[in-house]
């Protein structure tokens, strides 16, 4: 009787995972479709090699718009990430100190950009940035993306700081290190995996963000998601499936990196013991 319950639960969980992953699993093979269709052709189902092709990937790299979008996404993403990572790491160090006044309020303020509905953030940012002359500029989008990316850095760095052993800094000081040396040579390397993880999340976040970009970007600042957005709404071509596949691949690579960083950190902790 109890086994039946377990069986039902397992089935339910498997179905849940299929639901969660189906959109990713279907879009990958379809992006290799030799025909301009959005469904599996007979040939694809029989695994004939002629039914598959790389033509939609070639189409991305032959299109000026897509190349420009890729360039823009990286440009905006990298600068937003640098800004978010520096500000976020410093703030996490400050937040971790019990002497900081209004700690609960400050952390709520810092987290607020990512728990506010993105449409509201985008409307506010669009009006204000247009008023002060940052509408349709790279700087405007970079600032907005840094603002929604910084909270991720604060969260991940705070998590690593929670386990940080402050006696290490005292040890460094007793060995003659000045505070800056102690920070850069002792503390930063130890919390670096939180910093890198946060930076990666901030980057992905900027790379995928579309609502702010839809409102703010001029024709020059169109990013990958912005290009997909108009592609889907105007005339949908399988090139979009190829782009989607590349984005999924990017996320998988980033998450594997994060996972490796995590297990590396755990090993470090073990060997330190």
């Amino acid at each position: 009787m109890w086994n039946i319950g377990k069986g039902v639960l397992t089935l339910f969980v498997v179905l849940g995972f299929i639901f969660l992953l189906a959109p990713l699993l279907v879009v990958v093979p379809l992006s290799f479709n030799a025909e301009p269709y959005f469904t599996f052709t007979e040939g694809m189902l029989r695994f004939e090699s002629e039914a598959y092709s790389l033509r939609w990937y070639r189409a991305i790299f032959e299109s000026e718009e897509w190349l420009r979008a890729i360039q823009n996404s990286f440009f905006i993403g990298i600068f937003a990430t640098i800004l978010a990572t520096i500000l976020g790491t410093l703030a996490a160090l400050g937040l971790n100190d019990p002497r900081l006044p209004f700690r609960k309020f400050v952390s709520a303020l810092i987290i607020s950009p990512i728990v506010t509905p993105i449409i509201v953030v985008a409307v506010g940012v669009f009006f204000f940035y247009t008023d002060i002359g940052l509408g349709q500029t790279y700087l405007g989008i970079i600032l907005a993306h840094a603002m929604i990316g910084a909270p991720y850095v604060v969260i991940t760095v705070s998590a690593t700081l929670a386990n940080f052993d402050y006696t290490l800094l005292r040890a460094a000081a007793s060995l003659g290190a000045n505070p800056w040396t102690a920070f850069s040579r002792v503390q930063l390397p130890i919390i670096s995996r939180g910093v890198i993880t946060g930076a990666l999340f901030a980057f992905i976040n900027s790379f995928d963000e579309v609502v702010i970009v839809v409102f703010m970007a001029g024709p020059k600042q169109r990013t990958i998601p912005r290009e997909m957005w108009s592609g889907i709404r105007e005339e949908i071509s399988p090139t979009i499936l190829a782009v989607a596949t590349l984005l999924i691949l990017l996320v998988v690579l980033v998450l594997i990196t994060v996972e490796l960083l995590k297990s590396f950190g755990e090993k470090n902790k073990l060997s330190a013991k």
Binding site: V214, I232, I248
Partner: protein
């Protein structure tokens, strides 16, 4: 001696937190405050017709305004025509009194250079709508710098000529239906996420570490995958010639000529949004479930509880903080969802966010977009306050 070996002690916690706090205030809080101002403040008409509006201050009707008012507005219209801003004023006044948009351009073209002692007759001669009291009341109304008109509009209310507030005509009511629909969709999506997500979180928390890691990875990949990539996939999966329908036809569940319409309607919005937001329930719930000591369940069993009782009385109550933060996040994010409904929802599956975007991108009515955004923002804030009273915002787990 205070500790000086720590960079934190040198700069101090305030110095470290300040740059980001200042950054968020400038890039986030001030824009939000500005948006609130935008929703109640509109100086376009007031700045365009300052002298006319000052004269109209003393005018209430029922007679037409004095000839002086006509002469003043004629002069101001000529200036506006030269600045090429007359069209904008026409649009603004037209929002208050519809059907008056063409008055402005027509008058501007013909009033320039006219020398007359009786401007009133001349202007009524150009366009007899100048003798309409409603137009003058409309100008006065549109000329108010601060007004709640966008908020009234945003909840399907209007102010009558006598100043009383009433509901707009049935066929013009749009917003209240959309708030209600957004609320229901958010509620339904939250429930679906909980029903599908809880067992998944349970499974991840109670399998051997290796499998658990793989399963967690399978949740994180869709979580971080571009919303647009996921929306595209759903479009491909759910269309009538799409994979889901193909499989259903192949299995013989639906006939080939009776393919389900799963896209460009509410079904599409619900399916895609549930998948988009599922990780937001799974992750915090998993975090809480994995911290429940297994000894509690064994203790419950040894005290004579059957597995069902042990679950309901011991396990479930302890998982509530995770569920609560997950559900709150899903609900709040659902309220602001824009991309997915716009792509898979068609016209029937649109939510309030799509209306905000419409007023910014297409209708160019920023004040109204701001007012709706403020309403959405306030609802979310109220939810946080309720949540804080009930569970505590500091229990919110994001990763």
């Amino acid at each position: 001696m205070t500790a000086q070996y720590d960079i934190k002690s040198r700069i101090g916690p305030i110095g470290l937190a300040l740059p980001l706090v200042a950054f968020i205030v400038i890039t986030f809080l001030i824009p939000l405050a500005n948006m609130i101002k935008e929703s109640v403040y509109d100086a376009d008409v007031a700045d365009a017709l300052p002298r006319t509006l000052r004269l109209l201050n003393d005018w209430v009707g029922p007679d037409l305004p004095s000839d002086e008012v006509f002469r003043t507005i004629a002069e101001e219209i000529v200036v506006l025509q030269e600045n090429r801003t007359i069209g904008k004023i026409g649009i603004r006044v037209n929002r208050v009194v519809s059907g008056t948009r063409s008055v402005w351009g027509k008058t501007a073209r013909r009033v320039d250079g006219v020398e007359t002692d009786d401007m009133r007759t001349t202007m009524v001669g150009i366009d007899d709508r100048w003798s309409d009291l409603a137009l003058w009341q409309g100008i006065k109304k549109a000329g108010q710098r601060y007004s709640a008109k966008h908020y009234l509009h945003a909840v399907d209310l209007t102010r009558g000529d006598d100043g009383s507030i009433r509901r707009v005509d049935t066929e013009q009511r749009v917003y209240n239906t959309l708030y209600l629909r957004t609320f229901w969709v958010a509620l339904l999506v939250t429930l679906l996420c909980l029903v599908i997500g809880y067992p998944i979180a349970y499974a991840i928390a109670h399998t051997p570490p290796t499998l658990s890691k793989i399963l967690l990875f399978c949740v994180l990949v869709p979580f971080w995958t571009s919303l647009l990539a996921r929306a595209t996939s759903w479009l491909v999966l759910l269309q009538s010639q799409g994979v889901v329908n193909d499989v259903l036809v192949w299995l013989g569940i639906v006939p080939d000529d009776g393919r389900l319409s799963l896209i460009r309607n509410m079904t599409g919005t619900l399916i895609a949004m549930t998948q988009n937001l599922l990780p937001f329930v799974i992750l915090p719930t998993y975090a809480v479930l994995s911290s429940i000591p297994p000894t509690y369940m064994r203790a419950a069993a040894s005290l004579g509880a059957n597995p069902f009782q042990a679950f309901v009385r011991v396990y479930w109550p302890q998982s509530l903080p995770g569920i609560a933060s997950g559900c709150l996040l899903v609900f709040i994010l659902s309220i602001g969802f824009y991309i997915t409904p716009a792509i898979v929802g068609g016209t029937k599956g649109q939510l309030i966010s799509n209306m905000i975007a419409y007023h910014i991108n297409d209708a160019n009515n920023w004040g109204l977009a701001a007012a709706i955004s403020v309403i959405v923002l306030m609802s979310v804030l109220i939810l946080y306050v309720v949540f804080d009273r009930w569970v505590g915002v500091d229990k919110l787990k994001l990763s």
